[in-house]
């Protein structure tokens, strides 16, 4: 078991955000985490590499207990790559610099070795020719692929993605998703928070539906996304897949995508239709129409 989460609770002050999460991710498995905004998806991911400190519970990654107070957290984090919604590239460094600096400073790799690994990973995300560009000169999709290459350059055993395509223009989503798809096919262990249902259906070995800090439903993508058993899952998927559909007021939650319309940034409305493999739910309806 590559990632093992047991009885995870997390509160901010008096506000419980995660209320008892049990989850396992096997080596080479890709698990997609879906759920309404504010349900605790980011917090769950950030607990795995201790960007947030769990209030209670146990997390083991690759045999090392992350939640052990004695653990060398920097050593653990080296083995866990993380990709953020906002890319978070280092703006003062070139693309090559973004990839080599962490290798040099953290892994103490030689200059030549770091540059070699950087080139390999830039080639992997199809951006070798951008090595000397600065992040500000790249499109959002290119920045996100650089961020993935930067994480991969550290040689992680696990990759965490927190809504990697949510701040991208719809036409750039596909490139990032295809990089992730290839990574999954290559056997990387991945936890992906996403609103891209077609990606989840096609790539995820398992889908976890999180709502209000608990896992409501979990299973193969075809089941959770294709034939959800729980009312809450159905409601959520309905809102994500048909954001423009009329709804009775009672069914509308605080989900930002609920109003439909491409203006609601970061919502689950972007780019579902760009992916191949639409399913029975009529994915093409979810693209910005």
């Amino acid at each position: 078991m590559e990632i093992e989460i047991r009885g995870l609770h997390k509160s901010f002050g008096d506000t419980p955000v995660l209320r008892g999460i049990d989850l396992e991710v096997a080596r080479g498995e890709t698990v997609c985490v879906i759920g309404p905004s504010g349900s605790g998806k980011s917090t769950l991911l950030r607990c795995v590499n201790l960007l947030e400190e769990p209030t209670e519970g146990r997390i083991v990654v690759g045999g090392a207990e992350v939640t052990d107070p004695e653990v060398d957290i920097d050593a653990v984090r080296r083995r866990i790559g993380m990709v953020f919604q906002q890319f978070n590239l280092f703006p003062q460094l070139t693309v090559a610099g973004n990839l080599t600096l962490p290798q040099r400073r953290v892994l103490r790799r030689s200059k030549a070795r770091a540059a070699e690994v950087a080139r390999e990973n830039l080639a992997r995300v199809g951006l070798l020719e951008k090595a000397d560009a600065y992040p500000a000169q790249l499109s959002g999709g290119q920045q996100q692929r650089v961020a993935i290459a930067r994480a991969l350059s550290m040689g992680p055993e696990v990759m965490l993605f927190d809504e990697p395509t949510s701040s991208l223009d719809p036409e750039l989503v596909g490139d990032v998703l295809s990089v992730m798809r290839r990574l999954a096919a290559d056997g990387m262990t991945m936890m992906v928070v996403t609103h891209e249902m077609s990606f989840a259906r096609e790539v995820a070995d398992r889908v976890v539906f999180l709502d209000d800090g608990v896992i409501v439903e979990e299973g193969p993508a075809a089941q959770v996304v294709g034939a959800p058993r729980h009312e809450r899952t159905r409601n959520f998927l309905d809102r994500v897949l048909n954001p423009a559909a009329p709804r009775s007021p009672g069914a509308v939650s605080d989900e930002p995508g609920a109003g439909g319309g491409p203006g609601s940034g970061g919502g689950p409305d972007s780019g579902g239709g760009l992916d191949s493999g639409g399913g029975p739910q009529g994915v093409s309806d979810s693209g910005r129409g």
Partner: protein, 269 residues
Amino acid sequence: MSPRLTRRQRRRVSRGAQYAVLAAAVALVAVLADWGRLAQQFAQPDLAGELFPDIITTALRNTVLYTVSGFAFGLVLGLVVALMRLSSIAPYRWAATVYIEFFRGLPALLIFIFVGVAVPLAFPGTEIPGGTYGKVALGLGLVAAAYIAETVRAGIQAVPRGQMEAARSLGFSYPRAMVSVIFPQAFRIVIPPLTNELVLLFKDSSLVLFLGVTLDERELTKFGRDLAGQSANSTPILVAGLCYLLVTVPLSLLVRRLEARTAVERPWR
């Protein structure tokens, strides 16, 4: 004025009025001031000539030395205070806040007198290393550090949170992330305000006047005042003033250019 004026006409009238006020003010000063007496007191070419080269090789040189040493000490101390201010340990934060408010709340002159009098009293027999230069560095630096600390703190906090999170998730320790990722970005943000601080220090170095210095240690203001006294003419003051402007104006223009540049560069993500 008729209320029938169009907007453009009104704007023209308003501009005309502003120019008229300006012209009147200039004319008034030109007519009323006694230019002859002023010229005699402040602009004696032969007296000005006698100031050279000493006003450059001694006075301006010392002003620069005092400023640079005060700035260097202030920068180091200010950086430490800024990091204390951002520390997760509360007593450090308190100490930093007290320091900043204390030294920003007192006139620099008072600090200078304090350094000149109290330090020798408190530590009898010990000399501040560097003699006058050391005392000036201490006096200017203590004050400058308070302002620099606030500038640096703001610069560090202006770096987006995601940068630290990205660095930590790559395995950087906190101090290493600070040095490798946060400082280089904060540095670009604080260069213009720090240059401004340098201009302020350059002028504040005139407070050396109150420390009692030897002839060779005089800086521009003291030098100008001494020579004005000797010659019973204020020309040296004017020349000393021009020497200040020679340095401060280009620095201020530089700050403006730097600020314009960072404003353009800032659509950083």
